[in-house]
């Protein structure tokens, strides 16, 4: 039984919803676009029938109306591109890309326009665009609805990429993203939406700084780097390691681009061992990137090779037992940690 300690406990979904609502109240240039973010089309008696596929935008249409809460056709290139144009000309759009796997129909707008305009135009135009998107396996949705893919967006200069790990960071990073003058992608893991967190979410608007990680648990023997859902996996693994007499530090990455290199290096200089737990595909991943960073910049501190825990180099399988093998879990993390600790 979980004993609630938090003064103001919200679900991940409520936290995101509150962030958007507060920014829309504060700044009338904030609008939201996406498929079924309200629902019901223009039928007066059927408004807000959906509220977003993950209910992240539930209730907003009632308060802000159809001018600012815009249900779109299933035209991601069209409306993400529209988000870029709106951002370049006076609005601060939030665009919902339901699942990150759908990036493929609108990648041009994200990578060639959102990411590059500020640079290509010599810094004279800003793209204050927020894209929020659902990531993560574990829900039986198979290969095309379970990817994580934050690594490929981190690859592109000009984009900022953040991955909240709980309701507190979900609210604070969403607000920071909306206020940021650069394009920011917020990756929301769907498994986190079903978990009850005992964390306090302040009612007033606040920002979690983009570019900063957070030590979710202090420790001395090994650094576990978690990202979004895997931060929870790391915390569970740390508890188990603790029981086995090992003190694990859990670094919650939060921001992939820019990345908090200093915090990672600092933690590793203390613990001298690192396990990076990443739900994205292994090749050219953020896990590889962090491993390379540590290998290059903390080489002399390392007592063991840096270790990556990723899913295998395979698409996400549908069948439940196979999918369970695919996603990194507490046991695989404990095993990897024990591997570097021995």
């Amino acid at each position: 039984m979980v004993q609630a300690q938090a003064v103001r406990q919200l679900s991940y979904i409520q936290a995101v919803n509150e962030a958007i609502r507060q920014e829309m109240e504060r700044d009338e240039t904030v609008i939201v676009m996406g498929e079924d973010i309200a629902g019901g089309g223009d039928r007066e008696d059927k408004q807000d029938a959906w509220g977003g596929p993950m209910r992240l935008t539930k209730g907003l249409v009632g308060d802000f109306g159809r001018q600012r809460i815009r249900d779109t056709p299933i035209s991601e290139a069209g409306f993400v591109g529209a988000g870029v144009g709106a951002a370049a000309s006076g609005l601060r759009p939030v665009v919902d890309l339901m699942y990150v796997s759908f990036f493929g129909v609108c990648a041009d707008q994200i990578t060639n326009n959102a990411a590059k305009i500020h640079y290509m135009f010599g810094g004279k135009v800003n793209i204050p665009l927020t894209i929020m998107t659902g990531i993560g396996a574990g829900t039986g949705s198979a290969a095309q609805h379970s990817e994580t893919l934050y690594s490929i967006f981190t690859h592109f200069p000009g984009l900022k990429c953040v991955v909240p790990s709980d309701p507190y960071t979900a609210k604070g990073l969403m607000i920071a993203a909306i206020r940021d003058n650069d394009p920011v992608i917020v990756f929301n893991n769907r498994q986190l939406m079903g978990i009850r967190f005992d964390v306090d979410v302040p009612e007033e608007a606040y920002e979690v700084e983009i570019g900063k990680s957070n030590i979710a648990k202090e420790g001395t023997d090994v650094t576990l780097v978690g990202i979004g859902y895997t931060t929870k996996v790391c915390l569970d693994a740390a508890a188990e390691l603790e029981a086995q007499g090992h003190s694990a530090e859990v670094l919650d990455l939060l921001s992939l681009s820019p990345m908090d290199d200093e915090a990672i290096l600092e933690s590793v200089q203390k613990t001298r061992k690192i396990v990076i737990v990443d739900e994205d595909y292994p090749r050219c991943s953020i896990a590889s990137d962090i491993s390379a960073l540590v290998a290059e910049q903390a080489f002399d501190y390392l007592d063991a090779p840096p270790r990556r825990v990723n899913p295998p180099h395979a698409p996400v399988p549908y069948s439940r037992p196979l999918e369970a093998l695919w996603v990194p879990n507490k046991d695989t993390v404990v095993e990897a940690a024990l591997g570097v600790l021995e």
Binding site: D42, S75, V105, A142, P317
Partner: protein, 326 residues
Amino acid sequence: MTTHSTMNKDTLLWMYSTMVTIRRFEEQSRREADAGKLRGMHSSIGQEAVPTGISAHLRDNDFVLGTHRSHHHCIAKGVDINEMMAELLGKATGTNSGKGGTMHIADINKGMLGANGVVGSNIPVATGVGLSAKVRGTDQVSVVFFGDGASSQGVLHESMNLASIWKLPVLFVCENNRYAESTPFEFTVAGGSISNRAAGYDIPGVSVDGQSVLEMFEVGGEAVARARRGDGPTLIEAQTYRYHGHFGADDPLGYRSEEEQEYYMDRDCIKQLTAHIIENGFAGEDDLQSLDEKALAAIAEAVRFADESPFPDDADLMTDVYNTYA
């Protein structure tokens, strides 16, 4: 699968059986989902007539490509329902060896080139299948189903253009079930018609009552014949309706009215075909009753087959990523 391209008793009963099998399969799948044996699925109940009327004209080596909502496309194309049910349950004996699941069912031997979970994504693939038939010099036909929502994906327009200039044997079949998730199609489709868009690409665009399998059969027959003759693609907009929620959990009354539901359910495709068969004396109620029972028995057998089948081995996680590894 035998082709049923003339409208006789055989064809009518094949269509009846097919539609009933689809409906019973979907009802059972829903029960399996409710029991937690699969985690959701997009039901095709209400839309049975659309692929049935078209697939009547297709051969095993013609191709069908589907959507996230494709159980009816698969069954109409002759995919084995035991293997389909096993796939829904993630079993090794499934059509896709358990790796694909409800949104990706495929059986190339039956010409079912796959459901696809990304809206619109199969449309250009189908165009390529048509191209392949043309380059290889066969008279195979490629049929792609997609929803009203999918009509807003640019790739539909790219593909209609390509199929038109290259005169490819492709049927672009829009199942306009009036909603994309909770959004009514008039809210997102400018002009309110999908078939009207065909004119801009110099291809025929037909709107047809998708609740009438007889009309679907007729329109499908013409389009398939046109494609086989080498005269190029057709866009068909079938006016249809999904009876259930988008994915299962949602209550459609949140975004649509009871009157609207009743209107469409009154014109249910199975009901209409039943009346046609009985009234015209093609078969009696008993005959249909026995087809119903056969369908139910087949579904029960599919569940038994699926339940008794094993899950994939752990090692299967890493097979089929490639044909050849380094």
